[in-house]
């Protein structure tokens, strides 16, 4: 049993639900639902604009959520937290507000083959538009980035970062945790080495799969930008965060223009607020941000360390069962404690023929098992693994050993139907 289950109304309403798709979005605890409802029913005013009490209350709650987000990821000041629609918007914000004017012809952007499309396509397009070079770091068979000095074993294909980072490298963009492989990248070491080779090179980290599950401290990591989503960490949909170093945010041009982000507007020109206001044009997703604040409260109360412990325990159990199946290929690091709770795999017949992920998911869903199938917004990664698609399970605090038992029972059923 998970001690957290009782906090999630959806699990009380659907006792049979085996939700293994938290990497797509997480379930919502009562506290978050209540916080959103409380705003909508008791003080649903716009922020910043009113001098009346419910507007002040809304503004206070909104800014408090900002403080909570800053403290949660170890940011030195709240002004470095920008609320966005999600990780995708956060990354695009940097690509537009920083990248468009900074990346010049023949400059280099470094990314990896394991990235989610949100942290790949914007940079690919920016490189194409500005005639820059997109360098793509490869992975090994265990789904680890092939850097020497990282935790993995020394193979012939390892590269030194010094072979990748040059004077012309302007930014390195990398995921903290892979949303398919579950690989936890050694971000701190990577950043240290990148900055040693080129102190002016920036690093942006996609933390969508990290922040919900493990302790993240941006000051400790040494990155320049960090992006994550509220809805993957028990918060509502429609909200996410971009953290950026203040000196950088100050220099960047705005992303969107309009109300709330201006200081003064005349007929011929406008001046803009300082960060974070500069990057929050228009009415923000107030209810959702307040909900995110409540989600952070919940995670803080239960301590992220305990949540990670719970997931590792489940992973140990899961892998002990996977290891007994000869007809399943699991992707990513083989040692449970080295990876996050995202586990993608494929099932095969006796004759080693692939059982299509769609068909696997069809059988699963009859047992109320929720997984994702396809390329998980990581087509370059799937091509690199030489597969078209995979079945992806992902764990979170509300999952239990029973969930895993049911999963494996279903896998056996798939085998029975398809051979």
């Amino acid at each position: 049993m998970s001690p957290f289950q009782k906090d999630f109304p959806i699990l009380q309403k659907q006792k049979d639900l085996v939700y293994l798709d938290s990497a797509a979005t997480s379930l919502k605890p009562q506290g978050v639902i209540d916080a959103v409802n409380e705003y909508n029913s008791s003080y649903s005013a716009n922020v910043f604009r009113g001098l009346y009490s419910i507007s002040e209350r809304a503004t206070e709650a909104y800014e408090k959520a900002r403080d909570k987000a800053a403290s949660y990821i170890g940011a030195s000041k709240s002004e470095e937290i920008i609320f966005t629609k999600g990780t995708t918007e956060s990354i695009n914000l940097v690509a537009y507000a920083w990248g468009k004017l900074t990346i010049e012809k023949n400059d280099e952007i470094v990314t990896t083959v394991m990235e989610h499309h949100a942290n790949f396509v914007p940079w690919q397009q920016l490189a194409l538009e500005n005639e820059a070079v997109l360098k793509i770091v490869d992975i090994d068979d265990e789904g680890m980035l092939i850097f020497r000095n990282s935790k993995n074993k020394h193979t012939a294909r390892m590269v030194n970062l010094s072979e990748i980072i040059t004077k012309k490298t302007k930014i390195v963009v990398v995921s903290h945790v892979s949303n398919v492989l579950g690989t936890i990248n050694p971000i701190k070491e990577i950043i240290r080495e990148v900055k040693r080779l080129n102190p002016r090179c920036l690093v942006l980290v996609d933390g969508a799969q990290a922040v919900p599950h493990m302790n993240v401290n941006v000051s400790d990591l040494g990155c320049d930008f960090y992006a994550f989503s509220g809805h993957k960490m028990l918060g509502p949909t429609g909200v996410g965060v971009l953290w950026g170093r203040y000196e950088l945010l100050e220099k960047m041009t705005p992303f969107m223009f309009g109300g709330s982000m201006i200081e003064e507007v005349t007929l011929s020109r406008s001046t803009f607020k300082s960060p974070p206001g500069k990057f929050e044009a228009g009415t923000p997703p107030i209810a959702e941000v307040i909900g995110l604040g409540a989600a952070i409260d919940y995670l803080t109360k239960h301590t992220i360390g305990k949540i990670r412990e719970h997931e590792v325990e489940l992973l140990d159990y899961m892998f002990s069962k996977f290891n007994r199946l000869s007809y399943v290929d699991v992707y990513g690091p083989l040692i449970p404690k080295d990876r996050a709770g995202v586990v993608a795999f494929n099932v095969f017949t006796e004759n080693k023929k692939l059982i299509h992920p769609h068909d696997v998911a069809e059988i699963f869903q009859r047992d109320n098992i929720c997984v994702r199938v396809g390329h998980h917004c990581a087509m370059p990664l799937h091509r690199r693994l030489h597969i078209g698609a995979s079945v992806r399970t992902s764990l979170y605090l509300y999952n239990t050993k029973e969930d895993i038992d049911k999963l494996f029972l279903s896998i056996t059923k798939v085998k029975e139907v398809f051979g």
Binding site: L354, H356, P357, H358, D359, E362, R366, V373, G374, H375, M379, H382, I387, G388, A389, V417, F418, G419
Partner: protein, 128 residues
């Protein structure tokens, strides 16, 4: 409903009818579904019908890889149009496919089911 997925569809998936290549094909086309790696190729040999612009489908075969729904649907479709006119093929709609399979399909699986039809209709239209 459950049984249909198990028996009929599975049968066509495991023992696909009309799988392979067509001798002297007059039309061919293939499509990938990048969302999941499904790939269906269709080859047709069609002959003219005297006094009309219509043609008769003398032979049709499919090949490729995909999930049970996409393969079974493609296979059933080849049986459905074998010996029929190309105008008949062009008249087939998504509802005809759903009826042919005889099961309820979610939005996602509908895409799988329609892949074969899309390939066939595009091959006749001579699309690139």
């Amino acid at each position: 409903m459950d049984d249909l997925y198990r028996e009929l569809i599975l049968d066509y998936y495991k023992n696909p009818r009309n799988f392979g290549a067509v001798n002297k094909s007059t039309h061919s086309y293939e499509l990938n579904n990048p969302l999941c790696g499904d790939k269906i190729r269709m080859e047709i040999r069609a002959e003219n019908v005297k006094g009309s612009r219509d043609q008769v489908i003398k032979d049709v075969k499919f090949s490729g890889q995909g999930c049970a729904i996409s393969i079974a649907s493609a296979s059933m479709l080849t049986e459905k149009i074998m010996g029929r006119k190309t105008s008949y093929l062009q008249s087939l709609t998504k509802d005809d496919i759903v009826k042919m399979l005889g099961i309820e399909l979610s939005v996602t699986r509908l895409k799988c089911a329609l892949l074969g039809l899309e390939v066939l209709q595009k091959s006749i239209r001579g699309e690139d």
